[in-house]
């Protein structure tokens, strides 16, 4: 369009227009955009990426120093990232489309190399003869002849099938009046399954209860309760188990706490021959207890966001038709919240079955060792040189359970992934104020439950500050900070803290670079194979870390990227792959709640797709990506299963969780539960800080994202 007199926007003469225009050099546009945009959110985003670029550089240089023998491949990978962040930023803004390609290929390459192929190699190892490479089911047959794995073992001598299970779940010691509960021991496969089922049931009951109360009722102190309920999210069962193990002992806190009550009651009951015993949870029973108290938060979060997203008019309509109370809950509310509850439940099942940390803490009882996760660990981590196919073979069993569960989750979560997009207007969720009397009643229920739910955290904290602790005292006799000396008593431990932070940070940077792009492709571009990509990048949430780590052993051990004693690079890659879904899902949710027209309006005004991505899309979803990446970071730092397995072959490069397990196992001045608890507290403090920041940034949306 040219200038004309009648055109009010275009009042200048052509010569005047010329003076309004300046040559468009790239440097100018860069500097002017830097100069003109400081207060804007968009510049914040580009600044963030920029600074994380230089962060990567610095981090990489420092990180390289830790390699005893700098590894060619990882150096190459590092220099790739460095080149990209240094010279690439300019092209990045102009050439987003080509960069999208690079990142798509990047995502696929990373996932192929560090997830798919390792898993396939596990499959390969477990189905082939290690000498001849011929297909065989021998490993599975041998597995099912191992009474630690499977209770019915065929005895070729007698021709009978022997049954090796321990069906006595508890022993009572009348002298001490002590009931030791450890659960039925049916061999690894059945143990893992029934433990996971019980954990799921307990988690659902506890999680749905808390979610319903918090989502539907207003009462005095609700804010406090909600805040307290954030803590269980931090509980990696591993850390919690360290504390709980001490608390659940024969002379532990719990038994001490109830001793007075028990004594009083037993004055009556003892003559009747049925005294209430002290209870000591060991083995599988302890695992069930710990995992339930950790994983219920997953159900809680998922159920909570489901309850909050139920259109109140649906419930009101039911009430209008005469439903109320429990009937209303059963007929309308719960079914509507079901997808969320199911997703949380299935996730709990998977995580319980693959959890390695808890069995390790409770391995002093044989039944805890008879779990699939522990068996894999035992067979992989200890003999890294020549790998026994037994580990991978057990891993396959785990993988099958996990994959089935993952497919089920996809089915249920697909139902609600468009929640924010389709429901249009906002409504106020139905909360009801309850009377003072009802509040009191509620607290009578809530306080014991909350106490239970917070035992993992509280016990770890108490333990870390405990000095001498005589057996008949409820609380430690002496409180002390001395336990924390463990943090700098061993150079390896001190370094592991530093390393853990760096590993997590590098993994998170890679996750953000690839994850935002993957989410964008899935949400916005109509590319073939989109569903497969989506499946690929969200599946690690369900894939057992120990199996992935096993794959790293079968595939990479004794190669340049996994030299003997140098697992650092693979630890980072395992964090990257395993914690990828948090960022992708957050970014995806952000994109889903951002109307596409906002991007189209930008294109319409002359912005290319790339520019639109950086100027419009990224600022709008930046907060979501940030939140997701913080979660990825938190869960990277507290990752247990791959850390323990990979760390065991390179102790100088092992992360914090590995050393927590080591210290727990050590004897001497700086060893044992109290010192391990210090590392646990450090971990929880770190997680708490990050979660607090996330919740601050995201407000109410955080629950929708932290909940898988």
């Amino acid at each position: 369009m040219t200038a004309s007199e009648e055109d009010p926007v275009e009042v200048q003469e052509p010569s005047a227009i010329d003076s309004e225009m300046v040559p468009d050099s790239i440097r100018d546009s860069l500097t002017s955009s830097i100069r003109s945009a400081p207060r804007r959110f968009s510049s914040w985003t580009s600044g963030k990426v920029r600074s994380s670029g230089s962060w990567v550089k610095g981090g990489i240089t420092r990180f390289i120093g830790f390699f005893r023998n700098p590894v060619a491949n990882s150096r190459q990978a590092a220099s790739q990232i460095r080149t990209r962040s240094k010279s690439g930023w300019r092209q990045l803004r102009r050439e987003m489309d080509s960069l999208t390609w690079v990142q798509l290929i990047g995502v696929i390459a990373v996932f192929a190399l560090f997830l798919i192929i390792p898993l396939l190699s596990v499959v390969w190892t477990s189905f082939t003869d290690s000498d001849t490479g011929v297909f065989t089911l021998q490993h599975f047959i041998r597995l099912f002849n191992d009474s630690n794995i499977w209770p019915w073992v065929y005895n070729p001598v007698t021709g009978n099938t022997d049954f090796f299970a321990n069906l006595t779940p508890a022993i009572y010691d009348p002298d001490l009046n002590l009931l030791v509960i450890y659960g039925w021991d049916l061999g690894g496969v059945l143990n893992s399954i029934y433990v996971a089922i019980l954990v799921t049931i307990f988690s659902v009951i506890l999680g749905v209860f808390f979610a319903f109360i918090v989502a539907r009722y207003d009462f005095f102190g609700k804010k406090v309760i909600r805040t307290l309920l954030i803590f269980p999210i931090l509980a990696t069962p591993f850390v919690g188990a360290i504390g709980i193990k001490e608390f659940l002992g024969a002379d532990g806190f719990i038994n001490k706490l109830f001793e007075p009550i028990r004594d009083i009651l037993n004055m009556v009951l003892l003559p009747l021959g049925a005294p209430i015993p002290a209870i000591w949870l060991r083995g599988l029973a302890a695992i069930i207890f710990v995992q339930s108290l950790s994983f219920f938060s997953l159900v809680y979060l998922n159920a909570y966001s489901s309850f909050m997203s139920i259109d109140p008019s649906l419930e009101e309509q039911a009430e209008n038709l005469g439903a109320q109370g429990l009937g209303l809950f059963r007929s309308v509310t719960f079914p509507l919240a079901m997808p969320g509850v199911q997703a949380g439940a299935i996730l709990t099942f998977i995580l319980s079955i693959e959890d390695l940390g808890t069995p390790i803490v409770f391995q002093d009882h044989v039944s805890a060792r008879n779990t699939l996760a522990f068996q894999v660990f035992n067979n992989v981590a200890t003999q890294a040189g020549g790998l026994d196919p037994k580990g991978p073979t057990i891993g396959i069993l785990l993988l099958v359970f996990a994959l089935v569960g993952f497919m089920a989750i996809r089915k249920y979560t697909a139902l609600r992934s468009y929640d924010s997009g389709t429901k249009g207007g906002q409504w106020n969720p139905r909360t009801r104020r309850i009377s003072r009397k009802a509040t009191t009643l509620l607290y009578c229920l809530l306080v014991p439950l909350l106490f239970l739910a917070l035992i993992p955290q509280v016990s770890v904290i108490v333990l870390s500050f405990a000095g001498t602790w005589s057996t008949d005292s409820l609380l430690p006799d002496v409180w002390t900070l001395d336990n924390y000396q463990v943090l700098w008593a061993y150079p390896d431990v001190t370094q592991s803290i530093y390393l853990t932070l760096i590993y997590g940070a590098i993994a998170t940077v890679v996750i953000v670079l690839l994850g935002a792009s993957a989410a964008y492709l899935i949400a916005r571009r109509d590319i073939p194979g989109k569903t497969a990509l989506d499946l690929l990048v969200t599946s690690p949430i369900a894939l057992p870390g120990i199996v992935i780590a096993t794959g790293y052993f079968t595939l990479f051990y004794n190669t340049p990227i996994f030299p003997v004693g140098g697992p650092a690079f693979l630890i980072i890659m395992s964090y990257t792959v395993r914690k990828f879904p948090f960022t992708v899902r957050a970014a995806y949710a952000g994109l889903m709640s951002t109307p596409v027209v906002l991007e189209e309006a930008s294109q319409n005004l002359g912005a290319s797709r790339n520019r639109t991505f950086f100027k419009i899309t990224m600022p709008l979803i930046g907060v979501s990506v940030l939140a997701g990446s913080l979660l990825s970071y938190v869960y990277s730092v507290s990752e247990v299963s791959t850390s323990l397995i990979l760390g065991s072959v390179g102790r100088e490069q092992a992360p914090m969780t590995f050393w927590t397990a080591e210290i727990l196992d050590m004897t001497g001045q700086y060893g044992g539960a109290n010192n391990a608890a210090c590392l646990g507290v450090l971990m929880m403090a770190l997680q708490m800080a990050v979660i607090t920041v996330t919740t601050k940034i995201l407000g109410a949306r955080s629950s929708a994202i932290t909940g898988i």
Partner: protein
């Protein structure tokens, strides 16, 4: 200013044919409306022009330049989205200046001062000059609408595209903004395509209206022509009120003789120049309520007799519904008339007030020699004038 030429456009989404066989010329500086019921393909057509979709078939020209495959950001169109699509993370001024900052003319870009000046001018144009510093969520619906308009106008687009821009506003604001859009459009005389499903809006602001149904443009003509000479049954029905009586052609001359099923004879005119009516062809006779009169003007006037079923007093007239051969017909008569259900009624309509329309909608138009529906080509210049 830009002339838009659409030739034989088709766009499908999987099985759904969103729009098909669209051939039309939108002239320089003209305000054209796409009018039709929801789902008829208006938005699809607009987005084809904006470049958000690539057509399955057909071409789009801006002047002599083909833009069919050109990406949206290179088309220099200014679009107002139905929900405004203002960026919540930017202020009003940032929203409006966004396009200017990107605009390059011969490799030159606007200076900061020039951008500021133009943003102010554009905001002034929509009476928003005071509110540049505001954030989007601090604006009312009408104000957001204005910002969206300013944002589209400030880049001096060759084409202005408006997708139901007023549908979210209340009635009063809608009238105001309608005036505003007409004022700005005629001041700047930008070729404008305006999408709406509201026939009053379409008739009152447009130079020409394209009535759409089922993805087809049924008729593209001035509002007057659309109302007085609808070319399909759908157009006659969609614009204003209309009564349709089935009939069969007796003879074709200056007027067309039609026999109704109950034996009444009706004479009417055709609205489609060049349509080859044939004796014995089933057609519809259409007439507007205001074209039926109680008095006979001319002895040859059509005479229609029926039984009154219902009357509605609407102040400036009396709507009389009556039954003719099992069909409900509508007339608008003198408000003082005393008439009630059950009365029998005889009304008169001059020959030129009765429209004889072929059945079959756009299919029928294919029989008209030279019609774009028949050729898939631009109408010749002669029929365009």
């Amino acid at each position: 200013m830009v002339e838009i030429r659409l030739e034989n456009l088709r766009k499908t989404f999987g099985e759904v044919v969103a729009t098909d066989e669209v051939t039309m010329v939108l002239e320089e500086g003209e305000l054209s409306t796409l009018l039709g019921p929801s789902g008829c393909g208006k938005t699809t057509l607009l987005r084809l022009i904006a470049g958000f979709y690539v057509p399955d078939r057909g071409t789009i020209h801006f002047d002599d330049k083909e833009v069919t495959g050109v990406p949206p950001h290179k088309r220099n169109t200014g679009m107002c989205f139905q929900n405004y699509a203002l960026w919540p993370h930017m202020t009003v001024a940032d929203n409006v200046s966004y396009g200017l900052k990107l605009k390059r003319v011969d490799g030159m870009k606007y200076t900061k001062g020039a951008i500021e000046k133009r943003v102010n001018t554009a905001l002034g144009l929509v009476h928003m000059e005071e509110l540049g510093k505001r954030h989007i969520h601090q604006l009312s619906g009408g104000q957001q609408q204005r910002v969206a308009l300013a944002r589209a106008l400030v880049i001096e687009p060759g084409v202005l595209l408006l997708d139901e821009p007023l549908s979210n506003l209340d009635a009063k604001l809608r009238l105001e903004m309608r005036e505003e859009i007409m004022r700005i459009q005629s001041e700047l005389s930008i070729t404008t395509v305006y999408v709406t499903h509201d026939q009053h809006e379409a008739l009152s602001i447009s130079d020409r209206v394209a009535v759409m149904d089922l993805g087809y443009v049924q008729q593209f003509a001035s509002p007057r022509e659309i109302y007085s000479d609808p070319q399909t049954v759908f157009v006659a029905d969609f614009i204003g009120q209309c009564t349709f009586l089935d009939g069969v052609i007796q003879s074709v001359g200056e007027y067309i003789d039609v026999t109704l099923p109950d034996g009444q004879a009706i004479k009417g005119r055709t609205t489609i120049e060049g349509y080859p009516f044939e004796k014995g062809e089933a057609v519809k006779c259409a007439f507007r309520p205001e074209d039926l009169h109680l008095q006979q003007m001319d002895p040859s006037d059509n005479k229609i007799t029926g039984k009154v079923t219902r009357t509605i007093y609407i102040g400036n007239g009396l709507e009389v519904y009556f039954e003719v051969g099992g069909v409900s017909a509508q007339s608008l008569l003198d408000p003082d008339l005393d008439m009630k259900a059950g009365d029998s009624i005889t009304l008169f309509a001059p020959h030129r007030e009765v429209m004889v329309l072929p059945l079959g909608g756009v299919e029928a138009l294919r029989k008209v020699p030279g019609h774009p529906m028949a050729t898939g080509k631009m109408p010749s210049m002669a029929s365009n004038v």
